[in-house]
């Protein structure tokens, strides 16, 4: 779906002596179709700049970005500002019309989308009277009204209350069920680890780490039970149905706090020795902090 190869983006700064600043450094990865891919990173990591490259608002200094042929894209910008003299219906009409949607298809889609984003009853209201959360939802509606194959969302949870966040969360899941490809940037790690198939951690213009679905499943478990390494232990952990990892010296079983008791009972029933129980290092939050360590001058 999207293939990024060695992308570098530089800008020039300074009034007299123009200095080159590397905003993005040698970025390469692929986003397959029907996947939810998130880019996380501290402020100023280059996430939004990267999205602008994909959308061709800026051009890479070197490297290539390939998108599948004639793919339709829906985009939600960060902190969107729309033509506030338009009503929601007119905004969606503009979106639909620019994609060449017919009047009847637009009418059908309008009701579905408005229902999805929870803005029923606000269709004829001017956007200047919308709250920040409502504007965000209007933006999401405008991004998906034409039923795009690729949806790019820049900080979709920004400015939303818990209900709004849940709405966006459910909507992204629904889009995935509809076989859409979703690329989004977010700071809300809990949502990212629950939603995504892959997560790229970006810092200082570089992709530092790409986490796969397996790592993300582990990341959702906040407790780690360490057991001694043996063939029997490995076999039992495999059969247990819990998430686990094994190396030469020990085996780790990853569980939620709610699963802890039953997991311990399982281990004790099978006569496996528990060496330690500790908070998991594999959570996305831990991986994120470890990866972007030193991003801020204050030492964070």
């Amino acid at each position: 779906m999207i293939e990024i190869n060695g992308v570098v983006f530089e800008t020039k700064s300074g009034d007299f002596f123009r200095r080159k600043n590397k905003i993005l450094k040698n970025i390469s990865f692929q986003i397959p179709a029907n996947e939810i891919f998130a880019i996380i990173g501290p402020n100023g990591a280059g996430k939004s700049t990267f999205l602008k490259l994909i959308l061709n608002f800026i051009r890479p200094t070197s490297g290539t970005i390939k998108l599948s042929n004639s793919i339709s894209i829906g985009f939600l910008p960060e902190n969107p500002y729309y033509y506030d003299y338009l009503t929601l219906k007119e905004l969606l009409w503009f979106s639909a019309k620019s994609y060449g949607m017919t009047r009847s298809f637009f009418s059908d889609q309008l009701d579905i989308i408005i229902e999805k984003v929870g803005l029923k009853g606000h269709l004829n209201k001017k956007l200047r009277n919308f709250s920040k959360g409502m504007t965000q939802r209007a933006g999401i509606a405008a991004a998906i009204i034409h039923n795009p194959e690729l949806v790019i969302l820049d900080e979709p949870m920004t400015g939303l209350d818990p209900l709004g966040r849940k709405m966006v969360f459910d909507l992204i899941q629904e889009l995935k069920n509809e076989q859409k490809t979703i690329l989004f940037c977010s700071h809300v790690l809990s949502d990212v680890e629950r939603l995504c198939d892959k997560v790229a951690i970006m810092n200082q213009g570089e992709i530092k780490k790409i986490l796969t679905r397996e790592a993300l499943v582990l990341a959702q478990k906040d407790m780690e039970i360490i057991v001694e390494a043996s063939n029997k232990a490995e076999k039992l952990l495999r059969e247990s149905g819990y998430q686990y990892r094994f190396n030469d010296s020990y085996g780790s079983m990853y569980v939620d706090r709610s699963e802890l008791n039953s997991a311990l009972q399982y281990l004790s029933a099978n006569k496996l020795t528990v060496e330690t129980i500790k908070a998991s290092n594999a959570t996305l939050e831990n991986i994120f902090y470890e990866t972007v360590k030193g991003a801020y001058p204050c030492g964070l």
């Binding site: 800008t11 700049t49 602008k52 959308l55 608002f57 800026i58 051009r59 339709s72 894209i73 829906g74 985009f75 910008p77 902190n79 969107p80 500002y81 729309y82 033509y83 003299y85 338009l86 007119e90 009409w93 503009f94 979106s95 019309k97 620019s98 994609y99 060449g100 933006g139 405008a142 991004a143 790019i152």
Partner: protein, 267 residues
Amino acid sequence: MWPLAAITFWEGVRSRVLYGIFLFSLFIMALSFIFVNFFMKDIGKIAVDFNLSAISFAGLLIAVSLSVNLIAKDLEKKTIYFVLSKPISRPCYILGKYAGITLLVLFAYLLLGLLSAITLFLLKSRYGQYFLDFSWMAYLQGIYFDFLKISLLNAVILFFSTFASSSFIVLLFSICTYIVGQSISEVINFLGMEHRTLIINDEIVKYIIDAIKYILPNFGFFDFKIQAAHGMLANWQDIILISGYGLFYIGMLLCLSIYLFSRKELL
């Protein structure tokens, strides 16, 4: 392109600035009922000149207040990301914005033209003896040339918007271009350049003025208010020449705007 042109047109129609401009123009037109009484013999000429000036001034205000913000506001508020993420290419963006503002100016000129025609009709009915030279055709030609002038000014504004960093800079460049373009003919006439009897001997000044004459659009070329006031019709050659000049300049400015905007990094 057309959805963008449509919402640009709506932006103008819903703008309070436009209502202010309309009210101001109506006030000036209404004022002509009183004002013409100061020029008894020339009531007809003054009335036409006064009404055409009101329309021209309204067009200028629309260009200065609305066109200046067309692209600059999209860039400042980052609405451009929303628009260009649609299948709207950058050339279509420029053309859509231009088509929208041109439609708005056309709408304003039709409305103001109608209102000023009512004003002139009432004055003509009251002071018929002073309207002997009056010609509706010349009056319409005056409006048409002025519409062409404002369309050209809008293209100039759009051109500056593609590279200037703020709407204030766009406004400044556009007003300077308009003032120089409006007065360049008079400056050339004053210096006697048309007859090659330069009253100043500095060759460099001559070349600079020559360059300005050819580079900047000559807005004075479109000023037909005096001819319209005297009921003088422009001949077909003039209409074709002036229309061609205006359209050529507009086309050239739009091409340049598209070229510059297509190269712009929207960071």
